[in-house]
C-alpha cells in the first residue's frame, strides 16, 4: 500500500438531494472535500450519513445534484477551500477507484477469505488477482485463516476481510460507514492504525462515526449532518471535539 499506487482525488458534492418518496434523506448538500482529507461525518441515525456515502460510492443515485471527483489541487492544506478544478484534472467517476466499507461486510459467507478477495479482484480487473488477495490478507492479519470460510469468522475478523476487500483496487477515495461497528478494542486500535496509514499516504477518507473514538481521532475535518443537511463543518481541533462527541447529538 504505497502512495504510488493511486492518484489522489477530491470529491465535490453539488446540491445533492435524495428523496425517498416525499421524505428527504439529504437536502441540498454541497461539500468540497479535498484530496487527502480525512473527514468524519457525525449525526444521529437517519441524518443522511449513510446515504451520502452510498451516493459518493455511486450505489445510490441522487434525486438531484451531482458528485464530481477531481485531481489534487496541489494546495494541500486548503484543498477543500479553493474551487480549483482545472479541466485537465477533472475525473469521471469511473476513473476513480473507490473503496467502500458498508455496515454489512459485502463479502460472501459461503466462500473463504481468499476466494472472496480474489473474486472481487478479478471482477475489478486487477492483474495477478490471487497475489493481490494474498498480500491484502497479510496486511489485515488473516493469512493463517485465508482458507477458512468467512462464516466461521468472528465479527472482528469479518470486518478485516471487509476492509481488505475495499482496499483491493488501491482506492484513491475510501468510504467507510461506521467502520468500528462490532470491533473489539483491539480491533479498533488495528483499524485506527490501518486508516492512519491510509490517510498519511494521501488517500481521501470519508467515514461516518458514532461518537468519539480512536477512529474519529484520525479525522482532519468533522462534518455534522442533521435531517439531511450539513449543520456544522470544521477543521479546527476544538470544534471537531464538539461536533463528534455524542453530547452534541
Amino acid at each position: 500500500m504505497t502512495a504510488a499506487g493511486f492518484t489522489p482525488r477530491g470529491i465535490r458534492f453539488d446540491n445533492i438531494e435524495k428523496r425517498y418518496g416525499g421524505l428527504y434523506a439529504l437536502r441540498r448538500v454541497s461539500l468540497e472535500i479535498g484530496a487527502g482529507e480525512c473527514v468524519a461525518f457525525a449525526g444521529r441515525n437517519g441524518s443522511g450519513k449513510t446515504t451520502l456515502l452510498r451516493i459518493a460510492a455511486r450505489l445510490v443515485r441522487p434525486s438531484a445534484g451531482s458528485v464530481r471527483f477531481f485531481g489534487q489541487t496541489g494546495n494541500d492544506g486548503q484543498a477543500g477551500d479553493g474551487r480549483v478544478n482545472p479541466p485537465q484534472q477533472a475525473a469521471t467517476p469511473a476513473d476513480v477507484p473507490i473503496g467502500f466499507v458498508a455496515h454489512a461486510t459485502m463479502v460472501y459467507d459461503e466462500l473463504t477469505a481468499e476466494e472472496n478477495l480474489s473474486l472481487f479482484a478479478k471482477l475489478q480487473g486487477i492483474a495477478e488477482s490471487s497475489k493481490r488477495a494474498a498480500l491484502l490478507l497479510e496486511e489485515v492479519g488473516l493469512s493463517e485463516r485465508r482458507a477458512s470460510v468467512v462464516r466461521t469468522f468472528s465479527r472482528g475478523m469479518r470486518q478485516r476481510v471487509a476492509i481488505a476487500r475495499a482496499l483491493l483496487n488501491e482506492p484513491s477515495v475510501l468510504l467507510l460507514d461506521e467502520p468500528a461497528t462490532g470491533l473489539d478494542p483491539e480491533g479498533i486500535t488495528w483499524l485506527a492504525n490501518t486508516l492512519g496509514r491510509m490517510r498519511d499516504a494521501g488517500r481521501t477518507i470519508l467515514m461516518s462515526v458514532h461518537g468519539e473514538s480512536e477512529i474519529s481521532a484520525l479525522a482532519t475535518r468533522a462534518i455534522r449532518l442533521d435531517a439531511g443537511s450539513v449543520v456544522a463543518d470544521t477543521r479546527a481541533g476544538s470544534d471537531m471535539h464538539a461536533i463528534l462527541s455524542l453530547a452534541g447529538a
Binding site: 452510498r54 473507490i98 467502500f100 458498508a102 455496515h103 454489512a104 460472501y108 471482477l123 475489478q124
Partner: protein, 224 residues
C-alpha cells in the same frame, strides 16, 4: 469482452457456492419428485393417458419448482450487501444477470435431467430413444424460465410476501414457455417421435426477447 470475462468469474462463484452446499439442487429435486409422484395419483397413468397429460404436468412441475428455486437468487446477495460489492466491481451489471441466469438454467437443467428417468418409469413413457432431443427442449425451456425468472427474483427480493410474489409475477408470464415446451416434449414422446422445430424456434425467440429486455433494463433492476 470484459462482459464475458466477468460473467465467467461470476458464474464460477455461483457454481462454487451452490455445489458447496447443494441446498438448492437437493431441495428442488425432491420437490419435483414429490409433485410428479402426486400427479400420478390424479389419473390412471396408462400409456395413452400419460402421452396426453404427462408432458404438461412435467413442465408444470418444472415451472413450480423453478419459481421456488429462483427465490434465493438475489436474496442471497442481500444478506451481506454483496450485491453492492458486485455493482461496485463490474463495469456492466448485465454480466451479473448473465452469470445468474446461466447458473439458474444449469441448475434447472440438471434437476430436470435427473428427474427424467423417474418420470419415464412412473408414467411408462419411452424417454431414452429421444434423450438428446429432450435435453435440447429442456435446455431451451429452462432458459425461457430462467431469463425472466432471474429478473423477477431481483424484484421479488425487495417486496413483502416475496415467496408468493415470485410465482405470481413469473407463472402467468411463462404461459408461452409452458405451451411451447409441453408441445415439443409431447411430440417427442409420441409413438412416432418428432422434433418440433417450430416450437423450438418459438422458445428460442422467447429467450431472445427477454434476454434483450434484461440487457436494456437490467441495471434498473439492481438499483437501490
Amino acid at each position: 469482452m470484459a462482459l464475458i470475462a466477468d460473467m465467467a468469474v461470476l458464474l464460477g462463484k455461483e457454481l462454487r457456492t451452490e455445489f458447496r452446499s447443494r441446498e438448492l439442487l437437493t431441495t428442488t429435486v425432491v420437490f419435483i419428485l414429490v409433485v410428479v409422484v402426486l400427479f400420478s395419483f390424479t389419473f390412471d397413468p396408462s400409456i395413452g393417458e400419460s402421452r396426453r397429460f404427462g408432458p404438461g404436468l412435467l413442465w408444470l412441475s418444472f415451472l413450480f419448482a423453478a419459481s421456488l428455486m429462483l427465490q434465493p437468487c438475489f436474496l442471497r446477495e442481500q444478506n451481506n450487501d454483496t450485491l453492492s460489492a458486485l455493482r461496485l466491481s463490474v463495469p456492466d451489471p448485465f454480466s451479473i444477470f448473465l452469470a445468474k441466469l446461466s447458473a439458474n438454467t444449469l441448475f434447472l437443467l440438471l434437476t430436470e435431467v435427473l428427474m427424467l428417468p423417474v418420470f419415464a418409469v412412473l408414467y411408462n413413457l419411452p424417454v431414452l430413444p429421444v434423450f438428446p432431443q429432450l435435453v435440447l427442449v429442456l435446455f431451451l425451456g429452462s432458459l425461457g424460465v430462467a431469463i425472466p425468472g432471474t429478473a423477477f427474483s431481483a424484484i421479488s427480493a425487495q417486496a413483502r410476501m416475496r415467496e408468493l410474489m415470485l410465482p405470481l409475477l413469473l407463472l402467468p408470464l411463462l404461459t408461452p414457455v409452458l405451451i411451447a415446451s409441453t408441445e415439443a416434449t409431447g411430440a417427442l414422446l409420441e409413438a412416432n417421435p418428432e422434433l418440433r422445430r417450430d416450437w423450438l424456434g418459438f422458445l428460442a425467440g422467447f429467450d431472445v426477447v427477454f434476454l434483450t429486455a434484461i440487457w436494456l433494463f437490467g441495471e434498473y433492476l439492481l438499483e437501490e
